[in-house]
């Protein structure tokens, strides 16, 4: 081509720079080596912690180049941008060329093509070109792929190919990376990540957004009905469970007990079990109330010194708790005030629920233990880009399989009437990858084609 000779313009040079695989390899290696830094220096810790570890000058330097949050730093993002630009330019540069080659394959085995192929064979046959064309076309159809027949200047060319899709594998893979990046950007722009603690029995309508001072309105109410912790017999944690309710428009629309690895989702917002702890406000004592004959009346939850009324009876208060009351284990001291009577004070021992019968009162109390109010800690996330990311991931795996496990294999047969009256046959083949495997396939094909018509 004539324009290959002209000196490249500065624009061409820029284009060449961004479309070079050298740049791609360089960027991959730079990304890999800089990424190591962030795994050695613990990221996003409080600044005081870094002050303790590093000398002042080192701290100042590292802080300046954002090494404490390097994966979100401008320079790291710039490398990612360079990577993406390189990827895009390579695709724009090469995809049309590839498409052209795939759409208009070289169906004629001319001299120059034949020379460039390492796998070829030639022989002669008695008969006519058209007779052998039919026979060989049939053999190729049977053992390789249906060939395309082209006639040119008395020669007949058969061309057959398999695994064209392998040519697209690399583009599918590259496209998948861009799709993943788009998904990540959508998630960052249109989504949010937050964290919230909800004490048992309480509800939230807002969530503080992570890494900032913003507050995100949920648009509905989330209530934590209860939290529980299950342990294995050895005492190791087995499950963290939060019983959650979503209230929308004043009524409960969803209720679900979530555990780690099983979140709750409502209106695109996900709630993940993440943490737990004891809520403030101290413990409450659980006291069961029953009639003399044993029929239960109610279960009281007594906060320290808080009076709780019982209809037609009086007021009950929990005033004291002992872990081991006179060697009998946990016990609660209760004060009962009935109208017009002096206050009565007595101990309820958890291990002996019938002890209170000795008082010969109309109601019998038994202490069921202390329970402290817990809170559940939830990660909250809205990420409208996440399905785009999964689409990219699926495409990446498909693209890699196409690129590495398929091979574009091409086979040509050329037939021409020789000067001695016989038909001169040339067989040649090429594969885009895994040439060793193709060599074996070609050998078989060679034997099969040669044996045709015998």
């Amino acid at each position: 081509m004539a324009d290959e000779k002209r000196t490249p313009s500065p624009m061409d040079r820029v284009w060449d720079f961004f479309t070079s695989v050298k740049l791609a390899i360089f960027t991959l290696i730079v990304l890999a080596s800089t990424s190591i830094l962030g795994t050695i220096i613990e990221q996003n810790q409080p600044l005081e912690k870094y002050h303790q570890i590093y000398e002042d000058w080192a701290f100042a330097l590292m802080d300046r180049i954002n090494l404490f949050d390097m994966y979100h730093s401008t320079w790291f993002l710039l490398i990612l941008v360079l990577f993406t630009v390189n990827l895009t330019c390579c695709t724009i540069d090469r995809f049309p060329k590839m498409l052209k080659v795939v759409r208009n394959p070289r169906t004629k085995l001319d001299g120059s093509l034949e020379k460039s192929l390492s796998l070829s064979d030639r022989w002669k046959k008695k008969g006519t070109v058209s007779e052998w064309t039919g026979k060989y076309a049939e053999t190729l159809s049977g053992s390789f792929a249906k060939p395309k027949v082209t006639e040119d200047e008395g020669q007949v060319h058969l061309y057959a190919e398999t695994g064209v899709a392998s040519r697209f594998g690399v583009y599918v893979t590259h496209l998948s990376i861009i799709i993943i990046f788009i998904g990540a950007i959508v998630g960052n722009v249109a989504g949010f990540k937050g964290y919230v603690n909800i004490p048992e029995g309480e509800a939230i309508t807002q969530v503080p957004v992570r890494g900032g001072t913003l507050i995100q309105d949920l648009g509905f109410t989330l209530r934590c009905n209860s939290f529980s912790l299950e342990t294995y017999p050895s005492g190791q944690p087995k499950a963290y469970k939060s019983d959650l309710s979503v209230l929308d428009g004043g009524r409960e629309v969803v209720r679900k007990t979530i555990v780690v690895n099983d979140p709750l989702q409502y209106k695109g917002i996900w709630f993940y079990q993440s943490s737990y702890g004891q809520a403030g406000g101290g413990a409450t004592a659980q006291v069961a109330v029953a009639r003399k004959d044993g029929t239960p009346v109610s279960m009281l939850s007594l906060a320290a010194n808080e009076p709780v009324p019982i209809d037609g009876y009086g007021i009950v208060r929990g005033v004291n708790y002992e872990q081991n009351f006179q060697g009998n284990g946990p016990a609660l001291q209760v004060v009962v005030e009935k109208p017009g009577q002096p206050a009565a004070s007595f101990w309820l021992v958890q291990r002996r629920p019938d002890l209170d019968r000795q008082r010969a009162d109309s109601l019998v109390f038994s202490f069921r233990g202390l329970s402290s109010k817990m809170f559940t800690g939830l990660q909250v996330a809205k990420d409208p880009g996440v399905n785009i990311v999964w689409l990219g991931c699926a495409l990446m795996v498909i693209g890699l399989i196409m690129a590495f496990f398929l091979s574009h294999q091409r086979v040509w047969v050329r037939l021409a009437q020789g000067t001695d009256g016989r038909v001169e046959v040339v067989l040649a083949g090429a594969a885009s990858r895994n040439r060793l495997a193709f060599e074996k396939r070609f050998e078989k094909l060679q034997t099969g084609v040669k044996a045709t018509g015998q």
Partner: protein, 279 residues
């Protein structure tokens, strides 16, 4: 527990197989190599049984779960994968000399495992997910493929020196031709790369389902990305820039060192979300 006894037996078998393959090379004794293969097959049976028994025993203890969740289990699973991947390669390439370079990796992994706590511990809530199976299996097939590639890359470097000097003697003289070794370095990586990719993706999917973030630049995640980037660079260099031979072999070894860092180094040296090194 009986699974540990079976794993100890596996360790011995891996050691015997390594010795036989090495012996076959040094003594130029083919019979020893054939015996090595049979020991490898036996080891595959015993270690598979051991994994099954361990799985079963975890159910008996009332904490039933797949045995790939702590350092001990992940090491034996890695050795198991390497052994199986090796047997496939040996069968496909009809050459036993690889065994002398690959089986010691499985053997020393098991020796390292023996020095770790082998008790069956219950799963912490974070690991109770079906994603665990897909994530661990894909990652480890990838790791095993990279291990085989690096073992063959070492063979290549040894062999290439002799071929350059146009000599063929001693142990190295018996190794397959450079062309074949070079091809195998590459082939193992094109098996490992899609599996590593799938491993990273299943890990991301799991992370997203467990705490709502598919990527958080945790050291383990970052190192898996580093490994991915190194092999991506290898593949680009190989396919489009014709990096064959020595440079490709060195890059394969660098990739495997990064893999070891990702697999063990992160847990033993750095801190992060993957539990099995911390305990």
């Amino acid at each position: 527990m009986s699974n540990v006894i079976l794993f100890n037996l596996t360790t011995v078998l891996f050691g015997v197989a390594s010795a036989m393959y090495l012996g076959a090379l040094y003594a130029k004794n083919e019979k020893l190599g054939v015996m090595g293969t049979w020991v490898c097959v036996l080891a595959a049976v015993v270690s598979t049984a051991a994994l099954g028994v361990r799985w079963y025993e975890s159910y008996q203890m009332g904490i039933g779960r797949i045995p790939v969740t702590n350092l001990y289990e992940s090491l034996v699973f890695f050795a198991w994968s390497v052994n199986l991947f090796y047997l496939v390669v040996e069968r496909k390439y009809r050459n036993r000399t690889f065994g002398a370079f690959v089986m010691p990796i499985a053997f020393f992994t098991m020796v390292f495992a023996v020095y770790n706590d082998s008790s069956i511990q219950p799963l912490v809530p974070a690991l109770q997910s079906y994603w665990l199976h897909a994530h661990v299996i894909t990652c480890f097939v990838g790791y095993a493929a990279f291990a085989v590639s690096a073992g063959v890359a070492v063979m290549y470097l040894l062999k290439a020196r002799q071929e350059n000097a146009k000599i063929s003697e001693g142990v190295v003289g018996l190794l397959p031709a450079c062309k074949m070794l070079d091809d195998l370095v590459y082939r193992a990586i094109i098996w490992g790369f899609p599996f590593l990719t799938a491993g990273i993706i299943t890990g991301a999917a799991w992370a997203n389902y467990a705490w709502g973030t598919y990527w958080s630049w945790d050291p383990k995640e970052t190192w898996s990305l580093i490994v991915w980037l190194v092999y991506a660079a290898f593949l680009h260099a190989r396919v489009t820039r014709g990096w064959h031979g020595k440079r490709a072999a060195i890059l394969s070894i660098v990739g495997f060192l990064a893999t070891i860092m990702c697999y063990l180094g992160v847990n033993l040296v750095l801190s992060g979300l993957h539990s099995y090194g911390g305990g």
